[in-house]
Assembly symmetry: C2
Homo-oligomer: 554 residues x 2
């Protein structure tokens, strides 16, 4: 049997973020991206979500390289958990210059895990790993220096787009390699794996360049300070803020940990062009006249711990938002963040700031291709087989529909879930067995130690709190010998409802007294039942009730 190319997604199908794909041929396994996902609202307490590495652990010896398409968290954030623990720190990591810098910065946040065997590759360049020749394809996205991949394999060429849009006039970095994509398509591509994030959006995503006139108008009209919040990694936007500031005679200060760190690194690598004197210290900025200052900061997604939210709350150590300030929120909320962003906007307005955000003015554009661009990618590459990646099932499905309309036969389109192994030969593709895949929760220093049971407990505690009953028993007989002591949190306001707990303890004692029960478990269950029923009758709520038996001399 001839060798096949196998493609497995461990993240990025049926979800936003946490992108990770594997390509393997014979004894060589390539990892493409290692991203995290930010938790949804019902993933209580979880800091972040990483892919299930079981399959990689089982096949670690075969892993020849990790290839990173660009430096966003949802493509590099899981590297600190992948290297050292699953793969040796010496595993080669291929990335462009900026992505490499961001990876180094990410690993530096995890002491003891900084080791990195980084191979810097330019867009347009190729390298060989075992039977694969890997070509970095120039594309455009909301971070400069992002690439797609052409994997030249013994069974044919596979194109993986990475995250992309087609921006003819990117603010930083080069244009997409339209001609090379067409050349690949003309020569024949076996399979296209393409970014589906924007597949529900009709038309074309505007160029980053459309931001410029909006910034120009805002900078022209602002009377006082200008505060711009955006993603630290959105370096083209950061560049646009510097450019607008320079044109309008304002100096720029940077606030927020990741913004400070990323702009420094990007300047060193040449991805930000900032003339001397334009960038000033935040303390200096606060001493300048307001109309001479721009502050660029983090928190455009409403994250409560970020600088913008702290300014909105009035808890930022240096910056107090005041009437006359113009705050520009240069992003749109990622699904799930709408409430947080709205809250920050409302609080900034309450402090007297003028707040500008989409759709009031076009101060943000997406980094992902809309439908017409996805059609262009499909039309340039003309793949035999098509696999929509990066997005919830709804996005993959919408993307599959587009491909069908462009003439890709339905049976050549694979809308699959994470873990499904796709096997490609020269003329065929099929979904084969499944590899282990899923969400692994990270909280604090724990990785994967929180499962459905703990989550279910947190859900109950979040909704109704708990009541603990410490049930005294006679040390000699084991029988309950008094009213339980009740302790509650998150249930009712105790100062007003001590009487409720008194009656509850009475009810529990009534259920235990003279019951003859001696087994701890039986006593605990009897008390828990009595208390749960009592609380539901009295409050229509269902706090978690936990009984504990404690010996007490009669």
């Amino acid at each position: 049997m001839a060798e096949k190319l196998r493609a497995i997604s461990l993240g990025g199908l049926g979800e936003i973020g946490k992108n990770m794909m594997l390509f393997e041929y014979g004894n060589t396994l390539l990892v493409v991206d290692a991203g995290i996902m930010f938790p949804e609202h019902d993933m209580l307490g979880i800091d972040l979500v990483i892919p299930d590495f079981t399959y990689l652990r089982q096949n670690a010896r075969r892993v020849a390289a990790v290839i990173i398409t660009h430096g966003h968290e949802d493509h590099i954030g899981a590297l600190p958990y992948l290297l050292n623990d699953v793969l040796p720190a010496s595993t080669p990591v291929y990335a462009t210059r900026l992505a490499g810098g961001l990876i180094q910065a990410k690993l530096a946040e995890y002491p003891g895990r900084e080791a990195l065997n980084l191979r810097r590759i330019l867009p347009g360049e190729s390298f060989t790993v075992g039977p694969f020749r890997v070509e970095f394809l120039a594309i455009t996205h909301s971070i400069p220096d992002g690439v797609g991949l052409a994997l030249h394999t013994p069974v044919g060429v596979v194109v993986h787009t990475g995250d992309f849009k087609f921006d003819y006039t990117p603010v930083r970095g080069g244009q997409p390699g339209f001609a090379r994509l067409g050349e690949l398509g003309a020569q024949g591509v076996l399979a296209l794996f393409s970014d589906s994030t924007g597949a529900e959006r009709a038309g074309y995503t505007p160029s980053e360049a459309v931001i410029e006139p909006a910034f120009d108008r805002i900078f022209r009209n602002a009377q006082g300070r200008i505060i711009v919040a955006t993603f630290a990694s959105l370096l083209s936007r950061v560049q646009q803020v510097f450019d607008a500031a320079q044109q309008h005679g304002r100096a720029v200060a940077v606030a927020g940990y990741s913004m400070v760190k990323t702009t420094e690194m990007a300047r060193e690598l040449g991805h930000l062009q900032v003339p001397p004197d334009l960038l000033i210290d935040l303390g200096e900025a606060l001493r300048l006249p307001d109309e001479r200052v721009v502050i660029i900061t983090t928190g455009s997604q409403g994250q409560p711990e970020a600088a913008l939210a702290r300014m909105a709350e009035g808890t930022h150590r240096q910056i107090e938002v005041k009437p006359g300030d113009t705050v520009v929120i240069s992003s749109t909320p990622i699904p799930g963040n709408e409430e947080g962003v709205a809250r920050v906007i409302n609080r900034l307005i309450a402090r007297g700031a003028e707040v500008i955000y989409p759709p009031l003015m076009p101060v943000h554009v997406s980094g992902h291709a809309s439908q017409e661009e996805l059609k262009l990618m499909l039309s340039l590459i003309r793949p035999r087989f098509f696999v929509p990646i990066h997005g919830e099932l709804r996005h993959l499905h919408a993307h599959a529909r587009l491909a069908e309309r462009l003439g890709v036969p339905r049976e050549n389109i694979f809308v699959v879930e994470n873990g499904v192994v796709l096997e490609f030969a020269r003329d065929t593709a099929q979904a084969a067995e499944r590899a282990p895949s899923g969400n692994v929760f990270v909280q604090g220093s724990g990785v994967g130690d929180i499962g459905p049971k703990v989550m279910a407990e947190r859900e109950i505690l979040a909704r109704d709190g708990f009541v603990i009953a410490v049930i005294p028993v006679n040390p000699d007989t084991g029988e309950p010998n008094g009213r339980p002591e009740l302790v509650s949190r998150g249930f009712v306001y105790l100062r007003e409802s001590g009487e409720l707990l008194d009656r509850a303890a009475e009810r529990a004692w009534a259920a235990l007294q003279g019951s003859g029960l001696r087994r701890r478990q039986a006593i605990i269950e009897r008390a828990q039942d009595a208390l749960s029923r009592f609380f539901y009758e009295e409050t229509r709520r269902r706090p978690m009730v936990v009984g504990v038996v404690a010996q007490r001399a009669g």
Copy 2:
């Protein structure tokens, strides 16, 4: 001093939902609407939010009437908490026919609170309450039979728009009373209180009529069953589903409690026109060929307990979604519901259904005026003073900006918070003192018994769970005499981390042993400190640690 007209919002300024305004002159107080707000994600466990009724309780004797502009939850949902408890059940409630029916249905959900002194008024009609002549103004919204109000008072005319858009071709009910609005404007309006929900949206909100061609295309192409989810109260949309079904030779069945209830009532009141035989029983529908059936249902906001989510989960008792089904989600997510809606869509697709939702096709339009319509309202009414209502601060602010651009002087525009008393005389308006206002949380049978302390506890519990330490003390000396017993929930998975709790108990005992402490509070604090530190060191998490002292014979 001449008497003044006082206007107070107890809800609806700086938030979405929970709309309630008071207008008072001399000894007469009118309540306009009594709405609820659905909880935000961080209002853990809360079922719904109602206005703070303190001011109404203090002034209950002066309340002459409750006036309801339309029958949506965010305008009537707090009535069961207002009547009986705060105001006598005999307080006259003025409403249009459909709103009246919905109020009766709402009160029927609260046994013992059904009593209602309902006065049915038609759009265009007026009635007198004390010094007020109240005129119901015909407007259009996403529910038929909604009205705005013209309050003819001794100091002038005040217009309150209710929720509105300008729909020239409403599907049910009459057109907006453009001419009457113009006549009022020509004769002079003291103040306009106008719906700000859509104030960030440029252009015009499309007519409900635009849905028809989309439905027509969907019904023409669907091969199997059609399932349409929308708001039960969006009766024009429900009518459109019936109309499309009739044209395409399909029968309609209704699923979901509120959809069944509302369609029944609306048919009785003549707000839905359904020919005999078009509406069939759900059981009957399941026996018909798939291509002859439409099911209309609830859950378009992704609510987990509603019919559509249960179909998506595979837990609906009667309807199993299958390949060939076409599911139409005829609404857009209310902010905060995006994740839930996305989840339902993804799960329906996973079951093989074709799912159609905005923006894939225009199957929903907003019920609220966009910027051009808000300008038209301002231009018809030409108010001396302007108060944007209904919306978060960002919406009120955007609306105020529109009014300014139309020539309302900035000092005549009042962007105020709930509770601020606005006083109007013939030629003046000013913000005066504040009345008590705020969010009152309802959970289960408890109203207002959950405050910031309980919410803060729930937040900790949701994130990190808890550990209880039952600390044994010698009954004679009061000194700790052994390792505490630890009980945890929502913290770590116990089967794997019993060892962690063992070491924690050891650590606590080490902190207590030989400490000489005898005061319960001191013992508890010492143990809690030791445990909190230990857990943070070991896990980087901060579970709630609660110590309890239990006597145990040495």
